[in-house]
Symmetry: C2
Subunit: 313 residues, 2 copies
């Protein structure tokens, strides 16, 4: 059986996952389909059942070979599943949980790939009678292309997946989800959901909102064409995340609104401060601010790049 390296540099075998004979993926977009593709590529031999809203998405997923069976029916996809992964936009999580609940087998592990953990936990607690088999997860990886067509077996390789287990989450369920993600080549870490949602508002949600806001503003300017015409790699990279899926990001904003509003308020204050430094021609403080940003970024990007390389070698 094929095996992959886990984050400690040891080899873990997908044999350990023989308890997971049937895996159901609800939502075969970028996140769900890449998870299925990664498992298949790394030797997972069980059955992967896929569920999506449209037959078109499902036939593409079948054609790409990332799922073994396809249905638009929530109860059908989870019937007999050992693990169910919800990979739908945040606001679709609760309806999906409600739809699958009657068909869940006893002991079936329910996990997700959502970018905000508090609301998923609240949804699970509200819908399911027992959350001992719920293991919330968030892979810190993505790209600007969405949908099953963007599925990528290497999407999670070398990336971190954060688990935010509930107090009552069963250790065996946490271990199974950990092994599934390690089989995708990811490093698995654990955080409480409050810390996760706060950190991710800074590292992911706020930058996406800013990129969307900048591009929308420029798109409505008469100079819009010229801005893109006379732009280079800096602008391209800065705005790359504004090509993300609008519904997914709308849902993230609505699900983590308090944290995102708070950090946007801080950012607005910071931008007013920098604007004043520029308006006043305050060379010294402007240079100090730019230098602090550059040295911090250079140091920490380098530090965590080295840490990841060390984990991988």
């Amino acid at each position: 059986m094929k095996s992959v390296d886990d984050s400690d540099g040891h080899s873990i075998s997908l044999e350990h996952l023989k308890g997971v004979e049937r895996l159901a993926i609800i939502g075969t977009g970028l996140i769900g389909a890449s998870f299925a593709a990664a498992l298949k590529k790394n030797g997972y031999k069980g059955h992967i059942a896929g569920c999506a809203r449209t037959a078109n998405t499902l036939s593409k997923a079948l054609e790409l070979g990332v799922i073994d069976s396809a249905t638009t029916d929530y109860t059908e996809v989870v019937a007999g599943a050992d693990v169910v992964m919800l990979a739908v936009p945040m606001l679709a999580m609760r309806p999906a949980l409600e739809a699958i609940k009657p068909a869940l087998s006893a002991g079936c592990i329910v996990t997700d790939g959502g970018s905000v953990k508090g609301p998923f936990i609240a949804d699970a607690r509200a819908v399911l009678d027992d959350c001992t088999h719920v293991v919330p997860a968030h892979p810190i990886a993505g790209k600007e292309y969405s949908g099953v067509g963007a599925a990528d077996a290497g999407l999670y390789r070398g990336h971190t997946v954060i688990l935010t287990p509930l107090e009552e989450s069963h250790p065996d369920a946490v271990l199974t989800i950990t092994q599934l993600w390690r089989a995708c080549g990811a490093f698995v870490e654990t955080l409480d959901w409050q810390t996760h949602d706060r950190i991710l508002s800074a590292t992911s949600h706020m930058p996406h909102v800013v990129a969307f806001a900048v591009v929308d503003m420029l798109a409505r300017s008469p100079a819009c064409e010229d801005v893109f015409r006379y732009s280079a790699g800096g602008f391209r990279d800065f705005t790359r995340i504004a090509s993300g899926d609008p519904v997914m990001w709308r849902d993230i904003c609505l699900s983590n609104g308090d944290e995102i509003v708070e950090i946007l308020d801080s950012l607005t204050a910071q931008l007013s401060h920098v604007r004043d430094l520029i308006g006043q021609g305050d060379a010294e403080n402007l240079q100090a601010l730019f230098t602090n940003a550059k040295t911090t970024r250079d140091k920490l990007i380098d530090k965590y790049d080295r840490a990841k390389r060390a984990q991988q070698s």
Copy 2:
């Protein structure tokens, strides 16, 4: 003699540049040293003299073979030069012009690589008696690494260089600078400086200021380490330009302050608007804004990528 393709797909020979027997580069950082490296790589046979503030930079430039002679003396470097390129931070332009003025040969073309054109033109008009041989230029290319060590003969290949000639700029001088940039593999376009400085404030200056401001803000937060630890490609790309040279960007902000302040004010208003949409849970308008950003970016990135590929083929 080696020749390169110009932007119309025809071949231009560096023979046309035989009037440029000696080229002086003032400032052998990323921009100046890459210009010299690109010319040498593409067959320029004349002498390239380099001037920098430190002997260390100059010995590195000599070692890398991007310049043929080195000096820290402004008058020495321009003596006998047919073209002088100023590749120093914006606020160092005027002192450099003052320093080279006494030693400039009659008819020597003076050009630059600065990111703001109005102030360079004002500096040239204030310092030089005659601006018929002044040809302001701005290569729309860069990377987050600065200094001579980052010099890259391919930096300008496929990129746009904007010339903003003065009314009195002699057509032959404009042609020579055009040919030099085309010899670097760049596409040359012409704009008036007002349009240049406005467009670049949106496409380059504002994004850099925002990236610096975001990283400085996060750097001062207690969660700073975790932000970098739990970040992925989106954050990395969004903040890449915050690793730019602080002095260069300080000078750009101080040189194009009016335009940058204006667009930062628009951005602050836009961010307050998006913040309110999130705070109010306005799903419809949030999705519409994100969709407008995504569709505009996808369409225009694709359009100008295709245009560049067509020019190059």
